[in-house]
């Protein structure tokens, strides 16, 4: 994926202001930054939901502005907010989104069961999502994004507000997906999460990328990598804490 000089404004607010980066195949790329940094807007543009004011994005050789449908056929999106039909079962949710992703009936069901197994929820396949815990809903949210074998997966803060057990489960799944060759764009404001998972990270603030490299290299810029954190890097670059 190649992002070139992306701009997006909402009235007076420059949500995304000249963002450029590229993600290599099979890489986990982290987009970090505090709330309001422009991460979600960038993902919404990349996932064809929002139109950019200017700039271009190419995913798998397809331009997002001219071949949006082709782009949608190779991406999977796990939005920050839960996007589920709570009255339906986990399996029904997954099969439905599988059909939306272009899978045939039996294939959608088989893939749904595989993904539920991956998330450790196969025994709850027929349970109503409304009765699931927050962590289980997060895992279903992620499992749905995997329907249709996407080549590029957008994960927008997939671990927000969940228990450590579910969070670890999601980390393992993400690393497992990478091993299978999937490319992942991961946004988070938890720096330790990015440090643990991402091959490269871009730190965003005020709609711009202020630095981009491997977590190790970024940390090396300000001190011994084993002693400093990405949060320290952010503090050094912006003079602010991530939680300010």
């Amino acid at each position: 994926m190649v992002v070139k000089d992306l701009h997006k404004s909402f009235k007076e607010l420059n949500a995304v202001n000249g963002v450029s980066f590229s993600i290599h195949k099979g890489e986990i790329f982290g987009l970090l930054g505090p709330n309001g940094a422009g991460k979600t807007t960038t993902i919404r543009i990349m996932s064809t939901v929002l139109e950019a004011d200017s700039g271009d994005i190419t995913i798998g050789g397809h331009s997002i502005s001219h071949e949006a449908e082709a782009v949608r056929s190779i991406i999977g999106v796990c939005p920050q907010e839960l996007a589920l039909y709570e009255d339906l079962s986990a399996l029904d949710n997954m099969v439905f989104f599988g059909r939306m992703a272009g899978l045939e009936g039996t294939e959608a069901k088989a893939q749904a069961m595989t993904n539920l197994e991956l998330m450790g929820l196969v025994e709850r396949a027929k349970g109503r999502v409304a009765k699931f815990s927050g962590g289980m809903k997060r895992r279903i949210n992620l499992a749905i994004a995997l329907m249709g074998h996407p080549q590029l997966l957008f994960l927008d803060e997939p671990t927000v507000g969940i228990d450590p057990q579910s969070r670890n489960h999601i980390y393992e799944n993400i690393l497992g997906l990478q091993k299978k060759g999937m490319t992942i764009l991961y946004t988070t404001h938890y720096m330790e999460e990015a440090d643990r998972l991402c091959n490269r990270v871009a730190i965003m603030d005020g709609g711009q990328i202020i630095t981009m490299d491997t977590p190790y290299q970024l940390k090396s810029q300000i001190g011994p990598p084993e002693k400093v954190t990405l949060e320290d890097v952010f503090l050094k670059l912006t003079g602010r804490s991530l939680r300010d």
Binding site: R44, S47, T48, V49, L50, E69, R72, S73, I75, V77, P79, E81, L82, A83, L84, Y85, E86, D87, L88, D92, F96, F97, R99, M100, A101, G102, R128, I144, G148
Partner: protein, 392 residues
């Protein structure tokens, strides 16, 4: 198109999962039918209470009240003058018959007596019917008096006792009533011309407008769940999304309307099999047109409250201007404004079939208008959704 059908199936599945929503959706037409049947069913004859103030208290006023009470469907309620005035003032009653004091004495002396109708406005529909019935009873009494006076004046001075003349004349009048010179026979042609067949089209069209509200909410419900954005990152395009939502609303609205029609067919027996099928087709086209209009609201509304309010305004306008419960006179201002109400065309089509015994072929024009609304509604809603910033 396949994905549009999955959207429809998903929507229907969620509807079936929500037991409260399902129960409400299926019970509503049954309750509507029960209310309609309770209000109009079986009441094919006019029934009313005739409020009477008898300030006379004489023989002839008692006779008038007795005659009135004998009329089928009429029950006389005697009131005091002050009581009647208050009820008229409050519009509890719209018409009261006042028998003034001296009424009987005037008649006995051969003079001309007067009855008084006190009424609010035109007395209302029931008042006007009552007034006609009372006039009929009075006309009968008048004829009796005329005959008696005629006979008495002819037999005056011939030594026949007055009592004997009275009895003989009364017997002749009774005989005349039993075997009138001019009789009237009722012949029922087609469906019975009762209140149900007059009001059923209006009730169906008002009912179908629930589809408008249902479809107006479909997109904001997806947005509230967060699933709208997720759907738009799949291979589903906005056209498929809108058609899927439209079809699910049509399915739900049509099932509800069908329940109402089937109950009307089975219980009220106002349909022939052909007119029933024609009504089903009209209802289906109308449900589709209402759902398509609802999709335009869905493409504009940003919250469920907004969707509901806009749908309510649309519905109120269409019910009021579309002649749902009263027929709008041709050429009136209301009729001109009503041309933009979907109900006008649905009512016209349903009345043609149910009330006037017409065929589906007679309703092609209103059906074509409604089908046009379906196409325009779907195209416009999709265009608005794509064009308005922040729709997604």
């Amino acid at each position: 198109m396949k994905r549009a059908l999955f959207i429809t199936l998903n929507e229907v599945r969620m509807y079936l999962q929500d037991k409260a929503d399902l129960a409400f959706g299926l019970l509503l037409p049954i309750i509507t039918f029960a209310l309609m049947y309770g209000a109009f069913g079986g009441q094919t004859m006019f029934k009313a209470t005739a409020p009477v103030v008898n300030e006379d208290g004489g023989t002839y006023s008692a006779q008038l009240i007795e005659q009135l009470d004998k009329v089928s469907g009429i029950k006389v309620e005697l009131l005091k003058a002050s009581e009647a005035d208050i009820k008229l003032e409050r519009s509890d009653l719209l018409l009261v018959l006042f028998i003034p004091s001296g009424f009987s004495e005037t008649l006995k002396s051969g003079g001309k007596a007067e009855l008084v109708f006190k009424q609010r406005g035109n007395g209302g529909q029931e008042g006007q019917i009552l007034s006609s019935i009372i006039r009929g009873v009075v006309e009968d009494m008048n004829q009796g008096f005329q005959v008696r006076h005629q006979v008495e004046s002819n037999l005056q001075g011939k030594g026949i006792p007055e009592n004997s003349i009275e009895v003989t004349v009364q017997n002749l009048l009774d005989k005349e009533h039993q075997q009138p010179a001019v009789g009237v026979t009722e012949e029922v042609v087609g469906g019975s011309p009762d209140f149900i067949s007059l009001y059923l089209p209006g009730i169906i069209t008002m009912y179908v407008l629930f589809s408008l509200t249902m479809s107006a909410r479909t997109i904001v419900e997806e947005r509230r769940r967060g699933t709208l954005e997720r759907l738009l990152t799949t291979r589903l395009n906005t056209g498929e999304l809108f058609i899927g939502k439209f079809l699910s609303t049509v399915a739900r609205g049509f099932v509800q309307t069908l329940i109402l029609l089937v109950l009307s067919y089975a219980v009220l027996r106002i349909f022939t099999p052909i007119s029933f099928l024609a009504s089903v087709v009209i209802a289906l086209v109308f449900v589709a047109a209402a759902a398509a209009l609802g999709m335009i609201i869905a493409s504009i509304a940003r919250s469920e409250e907004a969707a509901n309010w806009i749908a309510v305004v649309f519905t109120m306008f269409m019910v009021m201007m579309g002649g749902t419960f009263f027929q709008v006179s041709e050429g009136s201002v209301l009729a001109t404004i009503g041309k933009i109400s979907l109900n006008t065309y649905a009512n016209e089509a349903l009345r043609t079939v149910i009330t006037e015994g017409g065929s589906l072929g007679d309703t092609l024009q209103p059906l074509a208008v409604m089908a046009g609304v379906v196409i325009v509604g779907l195209v416009v809603s999709r265009l608005i959704f794509k064009a308005v910033p922040g729709s997604k």
